[in-house]
Symmetry: D2
Subunit: 278 residues, 4 copies
């Protein structure tokens, strides 16, 4: 059984693996799985270790602080089920997939609440006895709307915020408050289409594949570090509507795969990219 | 055995399939496979029919002209092996795949010659007893260079021109002379990266998939009608060089798949998209 | 708009497409999409035509009977939403996906009822206001159990019966009563593993991909005509349990894709294979 | 730069990573990448470490022997380009892909020679200035044939033997002499087809995907530890011949991917499965 997951990110230097595992060994802990990666371009070290045994977490972390560079980020994780708040608009496909996985414990997460800027998905959410909050953006400023969402989210104190087809652009002010905690899903095309109605453009261009990308949200909504991507094949006989439907199927699978990696603490964010120990 | 492939594209109207197949039936020809598609958005009709039997092609085409709208494009194809000239620069991966397929008749094509703006791929080409022409762009104007290539290509009178990693941008003046005859392959990313060294950008962004797109070349080099696309998975442990190598593997497969469809006369171009009867 | 779908299967002979479309043309109907395939090995002809317009279906069918071989199967379909009964055991993943798609009209079907040989999935089903019937196999003969299911199914008169992880083997006596109406989903491996606990075997063999196959059920449960297949990648770090979870994700997608094709009347069954006009 | 790759496999015990990396650290070596996996079912430990620096290999290995369980397998690899002999019959597709990759250094290997039980592929091989040996099986016993091949192979002293569509079954006596050194590629189907002409069977069953599996060869030719697998989509319109051609395309890609992993020393064999540090 995994009791702890240790995650370390710091500038690289000689002997890091040896020193880190030494702290575990001298505390009589058993390493179950260990992954390590050095980004040679930036000389940065990433390590994730699953281990079992009885330990005093503070003692481990202090032991590690003593041997690691000052700027090291050390996380010792015991909470394997993550608390999540989901933000939605009107499309159901990602939310319904998450609600089913929540109901059957198919992902190691726990949905605390769903917040919608429309009330459309309340009945679906409430079927699964999850609280649904409607925070309309109508008639109020963007700041007021985000502030209302922020307060609600904070009242639940989640580990992650999942944008499951939340169709509003969040301001950097908002996302900065939940740094590395906000995940988003969106469709992707080869080539990329800019502007309104991308599925119509994709249809008119006759694309043969439609993709989806799940990523962390940083200041620029669709441009944060990528966690997972996949594609689905389409052909000329699909209408723009059918392409959109195919896109929804790949979006929900990509989001679920990305969340599985994130919730298992397998994803490191460094600059604008991810290091993932699958 | 397929003796003929009939391809028709015209504005849609009632009874087209009936009338067209009537011409074949009354000439005692046997339909082997028939595909038809109507683009509802543009009310445009596409039909491809494989048939066998003895016929006078002129008689068939004239029969069809009598029943089809004036603007109909009618092609009655008997030449199943396509003549091809390949344009290259220095990268070998697409050319070598094509040379092997040519040698073993794995694609219904016949490579007449390879033209390179560098001499790099001459030894490879000549191993397979295919003429290689080096047309350097050094010290001459773009017009002069393209004109030299054009003359050489025309001397071979190919059905298609394949840009197998030809790293120069062709002018609309050139491509207009080979309308619907020029195919290109290039890598594609989700998201798209603009500017120099896209693999470096893809690496820095930590993309999880790398794609390739084969398309007809129109005025805008990378923007013509798409024939085939595919992707390959990568992860953070790949360097930019390894991503480029993975990209080469998917490029050569995508190009071969696209050429197979085109050379079997399964691809219709309409506006900026393709209709493909796989 | 598609008003009718015409499906014809018969021994091949010259002029079939011309004659069939003639009946439509002379009734002033507009062909929207037409697909035709001749199985050369068996000289058998398959055609599917979407058309619009006002017509007397009997007149069309009689017109077609007059020109087609006696053994021709002619189907003129107007019912585009299919009625379905779902059979389950304890696993939720396929059922939940179907319930969501039913709720949001993501597939052109209508779930009339769910029948379980266990009562496990009643709460899930009833969340969506679909009747759930528990028909236990305990303490009764296989014949009695199947007979109870048969009666219940017949009371709903569905177009199709979907085995969404129904873990009992149906007798040929049962499946013969619903010929070409029963669809099943199961995992598939390369290589195939025979006997109990295939995921454990797959784990021990270290397979790198896990597949799923959706097929019509004939006499031999896992051996009927295949409609759709797909795979998902796994690696050595997955436990047998995680492989099974990955398998569930691919099963639900494969089942949904297969049902979409079947419910759009795009699938012909001929002998032990399918012809599918995607 | 990677100077060494260290590979260790042994029964698991506490502190292994710490102790192993200690030996590297005390020799002032820099770990570039480290992967470790414990097979919990068998309590077996696998570790692969890329490191750089100046070292005396004997000193490192002796240092490791002092701290590891007696049964530990310790490999310290400095030879990054692997010497390979390829065995073929008549099909060219895998061989030609390997010859091209060899010519352009696209895989870290060096083809020393090609041996064929037919002479068919001599011209192709010799185009690339690789020795080709024809060892006919005609008129001699299986033992005599294998013995002739064995002697020839041993005269080249390769690191690996690649069966690139070698269509004869090797005896356990032969493969035992090249334990963990022989790689094979073959097509795979869902479901599996036993007996002659599997593509004909696959065609008749109407399969929708065709797979390929690259694996190490053990006593049972098609049943050794799997290294890489992939699939390609087909449909009813493909003849058995076209399915076989699609199969060849996926075979050559799967073989190249598998060899890349093996030649980078990323593959561990344990019992009948592989652990692969991609």
């Amino acid at each position: 059984m995994i009791d702890y997951i240790l995650r370390i990110a710091c500038p690289d230097e000689k002997g890091l693996v040896h020193k880190i595992t030494g702290v575990l060994y001298h505390n009589e802990l058993s390493v179950i799985r260990n992954d390590e990666f050095v980004d040679r371009e930036n000389d940065y070290f990433f390590m994730r270790t699953e281990f079992s045994g009885d330990c005093d977490p503070d003692r481990i972390v202090n032991g590690l602080k003593g041997i690691l560079p000052q700027s090291a980020i050390i996380e010792l994780i015991t909470k394997q089920i993550k608390d999540v708040v989901v933000l939605v608009t009107k499309e159901h496909h990602c939310l319904s997939d998450l609600l089913i996985r929540n109901e059957y414990k198919d992902l190691n997460f726990n949905i605390l609440a769903v917040i919608g800027n429309h009330d459309t998905l309340r009945p679906l959410t409430e079927k699964f006895n999850i609280p649904f909050h409607h925070v309309s953006a109508e008639g109020i400023s963007r700041e007021a709307h985000e502030s209302a969402i922020e307060q609600l989210v904070k009242s639940y104190n989640p580990d992650y915020l999942v944008l499951a087809k939340f169709m509003r652009i969040l301001t950097p002010e908002f996302t900065d408050k939940f740094k590395n905690q906000v995940l988003n899903i969106h469709h992707s095309f080869l080539p990329a289409f800019i502007g309104a109605n991308p599925y119509k453009q994709a249809y008119q261009r006759g694309v043969k594949i439609i993709g989806a990308t799940a990523h962390f949200v940083t200041d620029d909504l669709d441009e944060g570090p990528i966690v997972y991507q996949d594609i689905i094949r389409v052909n000329h006989s699909k209408t723009a509507q059918e392409m959109a439907q195919a896109g929804r199927d790949v979006e929900k699978i990509v989001l679920a795969n990305a969340l599985k990696l994130v919730f298992e603490d397998k994803v490191f964010i460094h600059g604008n990219k991810t290091i993932i120990f699958e």
